[in-house]
């Protein structure tokens, strides 16, 4: 177990430095040479800036400089948001994205697991078909359609919540529901499939033969094993929430990580883009590690190897 965690930790560090390298390489793919500064500033200021970011040095030295920033956790300033460090921006955006993403994950689980379990317990009935269809509809409602519609209905027409912005303590509700509804569809389908597979297994028959009640069979015996694929999905789902954050934070105008990344890309703010990509990678790596550990706790047949 300890060896597994250490080896995954080392792997995570490799991933992070690979992500820094790739983002850096992408930033150099501008047609016709290096990033041209489009803002009108004096030659001296430009020169000072190039010196600060090390752009006057060869590429390999620049990449080494990036590595040094992240190895010593001493991040440079953003180019677009003058005077704000990349780490400051991440620290200001992360709580917004984490609130929305965390709430969305909880909403997805609260809707998805019962819906899927309900369908699995009544195979091939009308209720099963209806809840399966509802789950598929959730999968097919893209966030760029669902988000604006939810903002229009609950924000602009009914005026229950603000349609955009991050001012009020209830501003997380609409974006979190947008993401949560979409992921509840995936989770419901996964739960239905894996619960039906589990209910057909031998140990369920044994539990029934022992005289265990239906509720205890489903909740104590079956759901525990059936939750493994759902748990497994939470790693990709968390990554998907980050991806979804690009759209949802744009729709609802939230000052979160996704919004900052899009602005960094559009403004060619390379230091910020590298910082955010690296932070996203670190989040995905740690989430996958937590999921793996939880899985081995839930299912003793899964051993963690390094």
């Amino acid at each position: 177990m300890i060896r597994f965690i250490v080896s995954r930790f080392v792997q995570g560090i490799i991933v992070i430095f690979a992500v820094i390298t790739i983002t850096f390489a992408l930033s150099k793919m501008v047609p016709g040479g290096s990033v041209k500064n489009e803002r009108f500033i004096s030659k001296e200021a430009q020169k000072a800036q190039d010196e600060y970011y090390g752009r006057d040095k060869p590429w390999i030295v620049q990449l080494g400089l990036q590595f040094k920033h992240y190895a010593t956790l001493n991040l440079p300033e953003s180019e677009h948001y003058k005077g704000r460090g990349v780490d400051e921006i991440i620290a200001s955006g992360f709580p917004v994205s984490a609130t929305v993403g965390g709430a969305a994950l909880l909403i997805a689980l609260t809707i998805g697991v019962p819906l899927g379990a309900y369908a699995a317990l009544r195979p091939n009935t009308l209720e099963d078909r209806a809840s399966t269809l509802a789950a598929i509809l959730g999968v097919c409602a893209p966030s760029m359609v669902l988000g604006p519609l939810i903002a229009l209905l609950f924000g602009l027409k009914l005026r229950w919540f603000n349609a955009s912005g991050w001012f009020d303590s209830w501003d997380w509700v609409l974006p979190a529901f947008t993401l949560g509804i979409i992921y509840s569809g995936y989770i419901a389908r996964l739960t239905r499939g894996s619960l039906r597979e589990t209910l057909a297994q031998e140990f369920i028959r044994t539990a029934r033969a022992k005289g265990a009640g239906e509720a205890s069979v489903v909740f104590l015996h079956a759901l525990k094993l059936a939750s493994l694929p759902v748990l497994n999905f939470l790693g990709p789902a968390a990554a998907g929430m980050l991806t979804g954050s690009f759209i949802v934070e744009t729709v609802f105008q939230l000052p979160g990580l996704g919004q900052f990344f899009v602005s960094a890309a559009v403004n060619k703010d390379i230091p910020l883009a590298i910082g955010l990509s690296t932070f996203f990678a670190a989040l995905i790596v740690s989430f996958n590690l937590v999921v793996d550990i939880l899985q081995s706790v839930l299912n003793p047949r899964i051993r963690l190897h390094s």
């Binding site: 983002t23 992408l26 893209p142 229009l152 499939g193 980050l242 744009t250 060619k268």
Partner: protein, 278 residues
């Protein structure tokens, strides 16, 4: 193959999904030609109007015919979806084949790389690439395809590992068949089924990514249109003209639904194990 086709069509839902997609593809291809309007033709005096006999789905704030734009945008979205999936299939099949055939340490190393790549924030890379080198149409599907091949590689590799030690492959080898003959005549035909199934499940994901990029203003560039572009236009105008968001949204959602149903149907029809759960 024929039995699988029969199983696929026996489910009414699958047949509906396939029918819808066929009709949609035909409409998207010939619709813009039959329409009396051009998708980018503006009529500034008209502005945004409700559906009418002249404009079946109304017009947008620049007076462009919505139905023509939706069908044209659909063609662009489907094109990107299919081309990017093709890129993903080519990379994934090649990678998976090589890994499965090599076996041993090479295979372990190649699969380890795939595991590690799953932790990469690919969407960030695509967004950055499109922001830096945008307005190049081919880049969209190459970039998206380069992201979506990982699971395909795993599927193909598993299939090749299972196949290469089966009797008929060993027999072919014993008969003196060369390496390429075995790959071409024995392995490729047998991985086609899973590849088609997984590709059909990849298309909606790819189309979503394209729409997301266009929605952020980094994909297809106006005045050209894709469903992502139309949805973005609609989201800007939704307070006054909600149908500008709702119509392209409906087309997009219905297409995603049909593709998902068809993908699931194909998987059930080809894979007896998942059939038994039905």
């Amino acid at each position: 193959m024929e039995a699988a086709w029969g199983r696929l069509m026996r489910q009414r839902m699958n047949a509906c999904a396939l029918g819808f997609l066929v009709v949609l593809v035909i409409l998207c291809c010939i619709g813009p030609l039959l329409s009396p309007y051009d998708q980018s033709q503006q009529d500034l005096e008209l502005k945004a109007t409700n559906p009418s006999p002249a404009h079946w789905l109304g017009t947008d704030p620049l007076g462009r015919d919505m139905l023509t734009r939706i069908l044209h945008g659909g063609r662009v979205s489907l094109e990107v979806g299919l081309l990017a999936t093709a890129v993903a299939v080519i990379i994934g099949v090649l990678y998976g084949m090589i890994s499965g055939l090599a076996g041993g340490r090479t295979d372990a190393a190649m699969m380890r790389i795939v595991d590690i790549l799953y932790a990469f924030p690919f969407v960030n890379f695509v967004i950055l690439l499109m922001a830096i080198r945008g307005r190049e149409f081919w880049l969209i599907f190459v970039a998206i395809g380069a992201v979506e091949w990982l699971t395909m590689a795993r599927v193909v590799r598993g299939q090749v590992l299972a196949l290469k030690n089966l009797e008929f492959v060993i027999a072919a080898r014993a008969c003196g068949a060369g390496f390429w003959h075995i790959v071409w005549r024995h392995l490729l035909p047998n991985v086609t089924g899973p590849v088609i199934i997984y590709a059909s499940l990849t298309v909606p994901g790819v189309m979503l990514l394209e729409a997301a990029l266009s929605f952020l203003g980094l994909g297809i560039q106006p005045p050209d249109a894709s469903w992502g572009v139309l949805i973005q236009d609609g989201a800007h105008a939704m307070e006054s003209y909600p149908w500008l968001l709702i119509y392209p949204g409906l087309f997009f959602s219905a297409t995603l639904l049909a593709l998902n149903l068809l993908g699931d149907g194909l998987r059930d029809a080809f894979d007896p194990k998942s059939m038994s759960q039905q």
